[in-house]
Symmetry: D2
Subunit: 334 residues, 4 copies
């Protein structure tokens, strides 16, 4: 299943070391001003090689719109966005052809499909998130006229919560041939009340699915999240006054529907599984092997997950906006 | 959206104080032995009024199979399961008709739909989970022949992790007219490797969406979950040997696909929002009101979420089993 | 797959000789006045036993709304509609337990599922259409405030096109222990232009799928239909003037999208496969058998397909109305 | 909605005069040998400009596989197929920018979206079918190892049924600045019994939706089709003997499920709406205009619909094969 969303549907394709990575965005409203320049900045933020703490893979990641716009506006037709792969050093991966890297999808994909494109993780590579970011950028563009904006940041790395300390943790891990995890927070401002569909289309359920679907994410929480388990009801409940909610422990969602407050989501990101330190694993024949994963890898993936998480949140919200608009667009129901 | 699942689809219906609550299970394989007696025990576990710490609402919650079986076996046709509502004291809720209970869906449903069935929360009531449990019981029945079983438990209440201490926390909260949150853990044993569909159908993403879609759940984590954010890669990665994985920090899922190990999920459950303690809110006219929520409520909802979480996990796994079976059933692809 | 529709979703359940037949309608807008009395007339029109030319099965077919309304209006929650089966003479079918009736689904269901509820066709019985009619009646109720109405009729029976001649054909067939086919026409008036979603969600494609999905239907055509194959373009094209289209050869759909004109659909209905005349078949062991199908059967099913076709058309149009409303409800897209 | 299928999902994109037309095929089983050379012949058959009776647009229509294969085999990842547009004479269409061509989607798209890419029909162009053919070619490749093959042909043009007479009808229409319709027949050989999902996923319903979703198709019939309306049940029913069905009036589908016989489908194709003869229409301001549609158009589109119809049938059957494989792949259900 490579399609995300019910109303605003993004179908991604492409492998790390194939010809291209891309996405088809279907269900975008007509009449939205959209050009490559609206999408490129998000890809640039996601792009590797921007700092010494990130993977050294050099990719221009230039997006091209193949369809769905006419004279600078969306037409309602599907929008195909494609990014070519260029800096493809598949040779780096020859040694990994028949070995399962711990913490990666190698073993499970082999178990599922009986074969796999091992080069750079193939389809399970983080490079696939490029397509999500491109689609999310379209959603962000669609949401802007409604005053909805989304912003994420890293709030914790390996236990550290101050920027300088976080950077030190990454450097120390890198120098040790190791990696570290972190926590990313994403917030959406300006969402109207009423987004989300009760029972199985809850806004928070959609968010949780979207976020846990990002590689390396092992936990998702909304508002107080796990801290809610340690609160009294009288602490957790957000009182309501004439001016609106007096607090936002709920994180902007009640009963699966947006309250109109800020939507607050946090993700737990595991340490990058690719590390230089020697690990124990097996090969495709089941024989034990020691492995040290070279190549170009981020010692902490959390910073690069920020734009991906923002874009996934945008996709969820845009989808909910369209769902909600159905009733409004229908008008009086008599 | 009241349907859950792509291959094993459960469509629930019913309100807390309507005539009935039920579910139609579509996509169940033919030939599975199934009777009311296979489903009833799960409803009994979920049923309120079993202990002094739970809601006093008395419901027999007898399930009836209306369709989809013939001579004791499923036929491949949709299975309709219905439970009548009996102990409906709608009068308890008259005072709440025009007032929004803090922490509940009252405000957001009104914002979304412009009207609502206020009696006992209507469709957003926890009573809707009865339908999920009925559907989940069918899934559990289907999974049994494959050696897959699921078991959940409460692992923390308001910070306490020992059974006696947890019970004390609930009693103290109840006596104070308050409520407390907790953490529920659910585990699935016996799943084959290969379940889950990469990119947007990841097994852990489906689990996260399913769990966050349970009312009162504010966080979901798999394996190490949020603790992964504080680990090194060398600690988090599960080494693989000839005998299989040497540890299970991943919680049974890598790259969105099951590893064949135990699947381990934890949910953060917020304190029951219905509390006797006076809270600040507004009514439908926007005027401020003080509210004390009477009626019959659990001071901690975590224990009653256990069977719901088990059943949702069963639904996700059964859905993934059918998805995976497509390729196997097709045989050699040449 | 027992669910129809993307936005207005109807999930049907129930077998001919089971406990009940029903449907869950999900996605109905809130605030629509709806009571059993709005649905019952459609079931009454579909009901067997109204004339000597129809099956003699006596069923009250009383519909009950189990959920989704509050104080006489829909709430946005799923609407469960159930009709109990009463006049169940399963014994009539004992002789057919292991024999495949020609022209019926007996052979194919056995091939697909390996077992089947043989009583009255089980799930493949025409009685399942009762659930479609109940759902369609809700759609018709929703469409009324927009001035959309739907009406069908039998236009041909066994080649005859005049009412008296059509009745004679049915009587002659019945008396000969045989059955006859016919053609049903359904028209929708009042649809706005713009319904239907290009490429794979075309309005006419959805209509064709809906109609061919009715048992006994072997052909579907829109507007000129098969006659279009014998026309020149200059005859087929509908000229457009200031007052609108000058003709309606297209049948109200161009490029898969409604033109605002009347939507005109015709269905080819095969002769009822259940006939008294002796036919050649095999039993479950593959041995040849002669069969004469007794029981209570319509010698021509076309008249009873009329309300079913109307209701399916209503479901398609309501679904398209909601799809279209998404863009309107979103407002200016900037 | 630009996605077709539930299990074998094809998402098409691209406009007649945009940069490219393409498709993402999701759900293809892993391990299928697939190269551009498997797809190109189908595009070549669909390609315009092969005969003097077809549109003179010159396109190489070279397909490129961007993703989803590795070392010549499918991997289970989505397969992106792209064809660049080259012979784009958009200037031909400048005169049509603000005028609605009769019989085309111009008016309805404008009504739906409020704007449109008028060049060559934009997204509603027959050129979009190129993407369907590419996807269908993948399905055909997948079906081959199971002995399933599909073949279509034109069986009638403007009433003529002999090849020479059919060609004469096309020439006469072309010379008169007019166009003619026809009937296409498609047959699938080798399908196992059991394909198709009862009630709303019937095989014939899926076929009807797929075929009516091809531009210019106004009618679909299976087996006897409309002729069934003029038969007795004793003529229509296919007797079953030890050697199987004795005839195939049903066209290979009973109760929505394949019988194992040949699947026989016929489509009514309307005359090409683009004709040189002067027609009455209006422009975007609602003012009446006379129009003569120049450019490069087929005087009869039926022959070029043959490969499209074949490919759509392949998509439906492959989807049903995967659906059916779910139960088989699951094995014994106990």
């Amino acid at each position: 299943m490579n399609t995300f969303g019910r109303n605003f549907r993004s179908t991604t394709f492409g492998e790390s070391h194939g010809k291209a990575v891309g996405v088809v965005v279907d269900g975008c409203p007509p009449g939205v001003a959209l050009a490559e320049a609206d999408i490129q900045p998000y890809l640039d933020r996601r792009r590797p090689g921007k700092s010494p703490l990130e993977s050294g893979r050099q990719e221009a990641d230039r997006v091209e719109i193949l369809s769905g716009t006419f004279e600078g506006k969306t037409t309602g037709a599907p929008i195909a966005l494609v990014v070519s792969n260029r800096d493809v050093r598949s040779g780096d991966y020859d040694a990994l052809r028949d070995v399962f890297r711990p913490g990666h999808a190698d073993y499970t994909w082999q178990a599922k499909y009986g074969l796999r494109d091992h080069r750079g993780g193939g389809r399970s590579s983080g490079r696939e998130t490029l397509a999500r970011v491109a689609a999310g950028a379209v959603a962000i563009r669609c949401l802007a006229p409604y005053g909805i904006s989304i912003r994420g940041k890293v709030v914790e790395i390996h236990g550290a919560t101050e920027p300088a300390a976080m950077e030190e943790e990454i450097i120390a891990a890198r120098d040790a041939g190791d990696s570290v995890g972190g926590i990313v927070e994403v917030r959406a401002v300006g969402c109207p009340a009423g987004l989300g569909d009760p029972v199985f289309g809850k806004l928070d359920a959609a968010i949780a699915g979207a976020m846990m679907g990002i590689g390396a994410v092992k936990g998702v929480e909304i508002g107080e999240g796990f801290a809610a388990a340690r609160l009294f009801g009288s602490e957790m409940n957000d009182p309501i006054g004439e001016a609106g909610f007096a607090s936002n422990h709920a994180g902007g969602v009640l009963g699966g529907i947006s309250t109109g407050q800020e939507i607050v989501v946090r993700l737990a990101v595991k340490p990058t599984p690719s590390i230089r330190r020697v690990q124990q694993t097996i090969d495709i024949a089941g024989e034990e092997q020691e492995i040290s994963v070279g190549g170009r890898h981020d010692p902490c993936i959390a910073p690069r997950i920020v734009p991906v998480a923002e874009c996934m949140l945008a996709l969820v919200i845009m989808d909910a906006m369209l769902e909600q608009a159905k009733y409004r667009g229908l008008g009086a129901t008599g």
